[in-house]
Amino acid sequence: MNATVNRHWRSFKWAAWLGWQIESNWTEPWLFAIYSVIKPVAGAFILVLMYVVFTVIGNVQDLARFNFVYVGNAFFIFVGNTLFGTFQVIQADREWYQTLRYTYISPISYYTYIVGRAATKVAVAAFAVLITIAFGVAFLGIKIDLSAWELPAFFAAMALGAFTLVGIGVSLAALSFLTARHVRGLAEGVPGVFYLFCGVLFPLTVLPDWGQSIGKAIPLTYWFHLIRQITMPADYFAAVPTGLTTDPLEIMALLAVSATGFFLLSIGLFRLMEYLARRAGKLDMTTNY
């Protein structure tokens, strides 16, 4: 038991260390710090531009709706980075660094290794979300209402969201055991689907019925809803109807179930794809053609 825990901890710790080195080691620390702040702020400016166009064309100034869009987009950074960060581990190690074969035959848990590598992306994404929100509050009139007693709920929601996303990410990563490097578009396409159907930019009610059905079947829709409910002022939150339940406990329970479901799915898919790749001799293939 102890040896198993040690193995998983070792896998996670050193994978996270490697992930951090890859994420931050490409330049001087001061330049990395500036980049970490400027990148999300630049993303926020795109939102500002969208809002300006929206207000000019529509001739309305709807701060509640701008809050909705801004918060949704800020937290989407977390979704995109976590999914991509998890998905790309196998392909990067196999094709780019060509280290997968050596990592794979070492006595670590490769599943936990992927999660460890993704952990850095999660941390960097969380920082980017924080910067985006702080910039919005300081300069764009974004209202955040997060009291101290709501913090546990906020962190619980973030943790459930992260678990769900890592579960989805590892499931996608498992598929990449068998796919060529150009299939990495999957890691960009899936977040695109979430962006469209999960109520990131607009409430679910804007979508046609079939689109709403898809949105309601994706747990992340409820996650965005819950995050907005916890962080936005009550009147702003109520001003944009989404057609979703407003009971936070119900959403928490749903997210807990989906996180568990995706975790189990990711383990099952990972084992199956790992077996198939090992059988087909594709664990260390390079597809740079």
């Binding site: 050193w14 660094y97 050596y102 006595p107």
Partner: protein
């Protein structure tokens, strides 16, 4: 006798993907290229503490065998055991005891330094910090990479990267080390350093086993306690280099350097010729022929045939058999 590696009837077949698009273009029947048998019922036993070589040409099945033993690839049928554990059913205990280094590749995390790369892999194996540091320092000195210890891997030459990977292989102090063409593409000095270290590591440390694949005859001859000759996935012979060469003692080896020949197929029909190989340096004026003769008298017929084709003999020598001669005798062609 404890066995580090044991295979029984080990077979690996690679199936090719059907070429649907080619069928559409060429009007073929969508036939696949057919399965490729990389390993064909291989039986092998490697003892603890042995430096064992696999000698064969490219595509012989050497790397496939290493991949199966290193738990990277599943066999199609048969059994492979490493340190007593089945590679299919029980890979984790194997991974605690093995490591692998492949030559001719430039793997590594370019943003990490040489030391960081090696350090990280040592931590995957749970090597204590103190031990890892001492081992890394020693190996960096041994392999001549001390000056590059803090250099980013992206700035290393391919040879330096290969040395770093050798250090990665040794830093975990594995019981069984798989070396797949470890000196491929390295210069003479670097190859010498690696060969010397591998040899001393096995001989001076108890219970260390190395399985080395190579197509360099000299390397196999110099390093290996025993070696297997493999071709087209089949093990043709397993013995010490000396015994393998001794098998040819009753046969005679002649080497000739001649002007380009019009037709070499006739040599095979000369009575007394067991096998021969031809090496042409691609556009060079001379061709090198090696003959394994069951009857030494056949050399006069060979000379007559060369002269009959209007070629001139520049060099003719009777030599002691080498591993390459053993290979030619068994396979009917040269290794390189």
């Amino acid at each position: 006798m404890d066995l580090a590696v044991e295979t029984q009837q080990l077979t690996r077949v690679f199936t090719q993907r059907r070429k649907i698009f080619r069928r559409r273009r060429n009007g073929e029947n969508g036939e696949s290229e057919g399965p490729v048998t990389a390993l064909d019922h291989v039986d092998l036993q490697i003892r603890d503490g042995e430096l064992f070589g696999l000698l064969g040409p490219n595509g012989a099945g050497k790397t496939t065998l290493i991949k199966i033993l290193a738990t990277l690839l599943l066999p199609t049928s048969g059994i492979a055991k490493v340190a007593g554990h089945d590679v299919t059913k029980d890979p984790l205990p194997i991974r605690l005891k093995i490591n692998m280094v492949s030559g001719g590749e430039s793997s590594g995390y370019g943003l990490l330094t040489t030391r960081e790369n090696v350090w990280m892999f040592s931590q995957f194996y749970g090597v204590s910090s103190k031990t890892a540091k001492a081992r890394i320092d020693k190996l960096l000195h041994t392999f001549g990479l001390w000056e590059k210890r803090n250099a980013k891997v992206r700035n290393l030459s391919s040879g330096q990267r290969q040395k770093m990977n050798m250090i990665r292989g040794f830093v975990t102090d594995p019981d069984i080390l798989f070396l797949d063409e470890p000196t491929l593409g390295l210069d003479v000095n670097a190859s010498r350093v690696i060969r010397d270290y591998v040899k001393s590591w096995v001989k001076t440390t108890a219970g260390k086993t190395v399985l080395l694949t190579t197509h360099y005859m000299m390397e196999a001859d110099e390093l290996c306690d025993r070696l297997a000759i493999i071709d087209h996935g089949k093990i043709l012979a397993v013995d010490t280099p000396e015994n393998l060469k001794r098998r040819l003692k009753k046969e005679t080896t002649f080497r000739l350097e001649v002007d380009p020949l019009k037709d070499t197929s006739r040599f095979k029909t000369i009575p007394g010729v067991k096998n021969f190989s031809l090496k042409s340096d691609g556009g060079a004026s001379l061709e090198k022929l090696t003959f394994i003769l069951e009857d030494e008298a056949a050399v006069s017929d060979i000379v007559s045939e060369v002269v009959r084709q209007g070629s001139k003999i520049h060099h003719l020598q009777k030599t002691e058999p080498t591993l390459e001669d053993v290979f030619i005798s068994m396979v009917g062609r040269s290794l390189e």
